[in-house]
C-alpha cells in the first residue's frame, strides 16, 4: 500500500523557509524563533470566516510560489534618499553597502542582526509585543532574516528623519523584515519606513515592527508602501505608549495587489496623544485593508484617526478601526474618521468603525463617508478655466490634503504630494 502524505497549505508555505540558515543567530533570538515555530504548529491561516480577515482573502498570498533570496552584494542603485541615516534591506537582508549612517550621540541605528549582538534592551524586549495568535506575525518571528533597529536614548532630540528602506528587487521573493524601535523617555524621533519593489511579479513582504514610546517621548513614523502591482504585503505594527507620550503614524499605500496593515496600540498610558493617519490612492485591482486597534487603558488619552481612500478602477478598500476605552480611561477623547472617494462604479469600500466604551466621562466619535468627486465643484472649477484633468487633480489633492498635512517630514510630504499630482492629473 502506498502511503501518501498530503501537504497542507501551511506546510507548503513554510517549506519556503527550509533552506534558510539561522544558525548564526544569537541564542535569545533563536529561542524566540523556536517558540514561534511551536505556536505556528497550532495555528492555521485565517479564512474569511474569521471576523478579523472577513474582507481580505489571503488565498493568493499563501498559495504563492516564493523563494527566499540570499544576501546580495554589489548592487548598484542610487536610492536618492534625503537623509543622513538610512538602513537598506534587500529582499529582507541588510545591505551594508547601501546603508549609511551619520553617527549621532544617543541614537543607535543599525541592522537588527547587529543589535542582537549588543543591545540589552533588544534582548529584554524583543518579541514581547507581538500577538502570539497571529500566524503572520509568528511566521515573521520565526523566519525573519533581518530588519532595522533604533534606540533613541533619554531626552535625545533627533532632527533628521531616519529612513528604513525595504527593497525587493527580484520576482517571487518572500521576506520577513523585522524592525524594533525603542524611544526612551523625553526623546523625539521620526522614521520613514518605505517598501519599494523594483521587480514585477508575485512577491510577499510580511513585515513586523515593534515600537516602544516611553514616558513623554515623541515618535512619528511615515510608512510608504510602494509594492509592485501584483505583490503582497502584510505589515504589522505593535506599539506601546507610556504616559505623556505622543505617537503618530502616517500610512501611505501606493501600490500592491493585496496590502494588509495591522496597526495595534495595545497599551496607552495616561495623558497620551495618538495620531493614526492613512491615505490609500488605489487603482487597478488593488486591495488594501487597514485594520487599526487602539486600547485606551488609562485616563486623559487623546486619539485622532483619519483614513482617506481614493478608489479608482476596480480597487477595494477596507477600513476597520476599533477603539476600546477601558473603564479606567476617563476623559478619553477618541476621534475616528474614514472618508472615501469612489471614482468608478467598480471600486468598492468596506468601512467599519467600532467603538467599545466602558468609561462614562469620554468624548468619542466616528464617521465614515463614501462618495464621488463633487460634480458641482468640478463644474465650478472648469467654468473658471481649469481643464477637466486639473479640476479633478485639484479636488483629489484637496481631499488628500488633511492627511498630507499630518506628515512631519518635508521630503515625504513632497513625495506624496507629487504622487497625487502625477497620478490624478491624467485621469479621465
Amino acid at each position: 500500500m502506498n502511503e501518501t502524505v498530503t501537504l497542507t497549505n501551511k506546510d507548503k508555505f513554510l517549506s519556503h523557509f527550509d533552506l534558510v540558515d539561522f544558525s548564526m543567530d544569537e541564542d535569545f533570538s533563536s529561542d524566540k524563533r523556536k517558540e514561534a515555530m511551536e505556536l505556528i504548529q497550532w495555528l492555521d491561516f485565517p479564512t474569511s470566516k474569521a471576523e478579523y480577515w472577513k474582507y481580505t482573502r489571503i488565498n493568493k498570498i499563501i498559495k504563492g510560489d516564493y523563494k527566499v533570496s540570499a544576501p546580495e552584494n554589489e548592487i548598484e542603485i542610487d536610492l536618492a534618499v534625503p537623509t543622513k541615516n538610512c538602513i537598506v534591506l534587500i529582499n529582507g537582508y541588510f545591505s551594508e553597502e547601501l546603508s549609511f549612517f551619520d553617527i549621532t550621540e544617543g541614537i543607535q541605528f543599525s541592522s537588527l542582526s547587529d543589535a542582537k549582538k549588543s543591545s540589552s534592551i533588544l534582548k529584554e524586549k524583543f518579541n514581547s509585543l507581538v500577538k502570539k495568535d497571529e500566524i503572520f506575525a509568528d511566521i515573521n518571528s520565526a523566519y525573519h532574516q533581518d530588519g532595522a533597529f533604533m534606540h533613541v536614548a533619554k531626552n535625545v532630540q533627533a532632527d533628521e528623519p531616519y529612513y528604513i528602506l525595504n527593497m525587493v528587487d527580484d520576482s517571487n521573493i518572500i521576506s520577513n523584515p523585522r524592525n524594533f524601535i525603542f524611544v526612551e523617555q523625553g526623546a523625539n524621533a521620526k522614521v520613514v519606513l518605505k517598501t519599494i519593489n523594483t521587480a514585477n511579479t508575485g512577491s510577499f513582504t510580511n513585515m513586523v515592527s515593534e515600537i516602544f514610546v516611553e514616558k513623554n517621548a515623541h515618535f512619528e513614523i511615515n510608512k510608504i508602501q510602494d509594492e509592485a502591482e501584483d505583490s503582497f504585503q502584510i505589515a504589522t505594527e505593535q506599539v506601546v505608549q507610556a504616559d505623556d507620550s505622543t505617537f503618530k503614524i502616517n500610512t501611505f499605500t501606493l501600490n500592491g495587489a493585496i496590502v494588509r496593515n495591522n496597526l495595534n496600540i495595545d497599551s496607552l498610558g495616561k495623558n497620551t496623544m495618538t495620531y493614526l493617519n492613512g491615505l490609500y490612492p488605489l487603482k487597478g485591482k488593488q486591495h488594501v485593508d487597514n485594520h487599526t486597534y487602539l486600547l485606551h487603558r488609562e485616563p486623559n488619552g487623546e486619539s485622532h484617526e483619519l483614513y482617506k481612500g481614493i478608489m479608482g478602477d476596480s480597487s477595494t478598500g477596507v477600513f476597520n478601526g476599533k477603539v476600546f476605552v477601558h473603564r479606567e480611561a476617563q476623559k478619553t477623547n477618541a476621534f475616528q474618521s474614514n472618508a472615501n472617494i469612489v471614482m468608478t462604479d467598480t471600486a468598492t469600500i468596506n468601512s467599519k468603525p467600532e467603538l467599545e466604551i466602558y468609561a462614562d466621562d469620554v468624548k468619542c466619535s466616528h464617521g465614515s463617508t463614501t462618495g464621488q468627486l463633487d460634480e458641482e465643484a468640478l463644474f465650478y472649477l472648469r467654468a473658471r478655466g481649469l481643464s477637466k484633468e486639473s479640476a479633478r487633480a485639484v479636488l483629489v489633492n484637496a481631499f488628500a490634503s488633511d492627511v498630507i498635512e499630518q506628515i512631519g517630514v518635508d521630503a515625504v510630504k513632497d513625495e506624496i504630494e507629487k504622487y497625487i499630482d502625477d497620478n490624478y492629473q491624467g485621469i479621465k
Partner: protein, 253 residues
C-alpha cells in the same frame, strides 16, 4: 459677441428652455428678469456648459465659434464668465492657487508663458481691492465658510482676475446689503469696456440703478417674452409680471 438662436434645453426629459433668441453686442449690458423658475439660471448654466442640461435645439455663436460644441473650460478660456447664483464651497482648494492654475492653463493654451508670480500677486492685490474683498478671504479655500455676500464678492473678484469678454451674472445682487451691492456694481462698471459685454440676471431694479442696462428682457417659461429699455425694469418692479403674462395670453388666444 454672442448670438443665441432658438435655444431649447431640457433636464431629465423636462424642457426648461423653450426657444431663446438673444443677441448681445460688444459694449452692451443686457438685463434678464423673470419669475422664479422661469429658466434664467438654466440659460446661464447652459451657456457655461453644464452637462446635466441637454440642448435639444438651437445654436449659440460666441465670437464666431460654436459655443455649444465647447468644453466648459474652453468656453471660459474663450472669454465667457458665469458668476454663479449659488457659488459652491470647495474645502481644501485655495482660491488663489486655483485661479493661478486657471490663468496659466489658459495662457499655455494660447502658447503664452505662465504669468510671473509677481505680476499675478499684483493683480490679486489690485482686483481684491476693487471688490473690497479682504485679502485673507482671497487666500482661503474657495468660498469655504464665506458669508453669502462674501461669496458674491468672490465671484466678482474672480471675474476681475479672469477679465472675460462676456460676463453672465446670475443674481449676483441677491443677498447683498446696500454697501455690498454698490461695491459689486462698481466692480462690474470698472471692468466695463467697449469691447466686453454683460448679461445681468436679477430680480431687483435697484441693481440696475448701478449697472445701467441697454436692454431689459423678460424670461417666462423658458422664452424671452418681452424686451424693452431700462425703464421696463422699473415697470416690472411696480407691476410684477402678471400684466405681461396676460398680454401674452391675449396674443395667443
Amino acid at each position: 459677441m454672442i448670438k443665441i438662436e432658438n435655444l431649447h434645453a431640457s433636464i431629465e426629459g423636462t424642457e426648461i428652455l423653450t426657444g431663446i433668441n438673444l443677441e448681445v453686442k460688444a459694449g452692451e449690458v443686457h438685463a434678464i428678469m423673470g419669475p422664479n423658475g422661469s429658466g434664467k439660471s438654466t440659460l446661464a448654466n447652459v451657456l457655461a456648459g453644464r452637462d446635466e442640461y441637454e440642448v435639444t435645439e438651437g445654436s449659440v455663436d460666441f465670437l464666431g465659434e460654436d459655443l455649444l460644441d465647447m468644453e466648459p473650460e474652453d468656453r471660459s478660456r474663450a472669454g465667457l464668465f458665469l458668476a454663479f447664483q449659488y457659488p459652491v464651497e470647495i474645502p481644501g482648494v485655495s482660491n488663489i492657487n486655483f485661479l493661478k492654475t486657471a490663468i496659466n492653463e489658459a495662457r499655455e493654451k494660447r502658447g503664452e508663458d505662465p504669468m510671473p508670480a509677481k505680476d499675478f500677486l499684483k493683480r490679486v492685490k489690485e482686483k481684491s481691492k476693487l471688490v473690497e474683498l479682504d485679502g485673507r478671504l482671497a487666500n482661503r479655500s474657495v468660498n469655504e465658510g464665506f458669508s453669502g455676500g462674501e461669496k458674491k464678492r468672490n465671484e466678482i473678484f474672480q471675474m476681475a482676475m479672469l477679465d472675460p469678454k462676456l460676463a453672465v451674472l446670475d443674481e449676483t445682487d441677491s443677498g447683498l446689503d446696500i454697501d455690498a451691492l454698490r461695491i459689486v456694481a462698481n466692480g462690474v462698471n470698472e471692468l466695463k469696456t467697449k469691447d466686453n459685454a454683460s448679461i445681468v440676471i436679477t430680480h431687483y431694479q435697484r441693481l440696475l440703478d448701478y449697472i445701467v442696462p441697454d436692454f431689459v428682457h423678460v424670461l417666462y417659461q423658458g422664452k424671452i417674452v418681452k424686451t424693452g429699455p431700462k425703464e421696463l425694469a422699473l415697470e416690472l418692479e411696480e407691476r410684477g409680471y402678471d400684466w405681461i403674462i396676460k398680454e401674452l395670453e391675449e396674443v395667443t388666444a
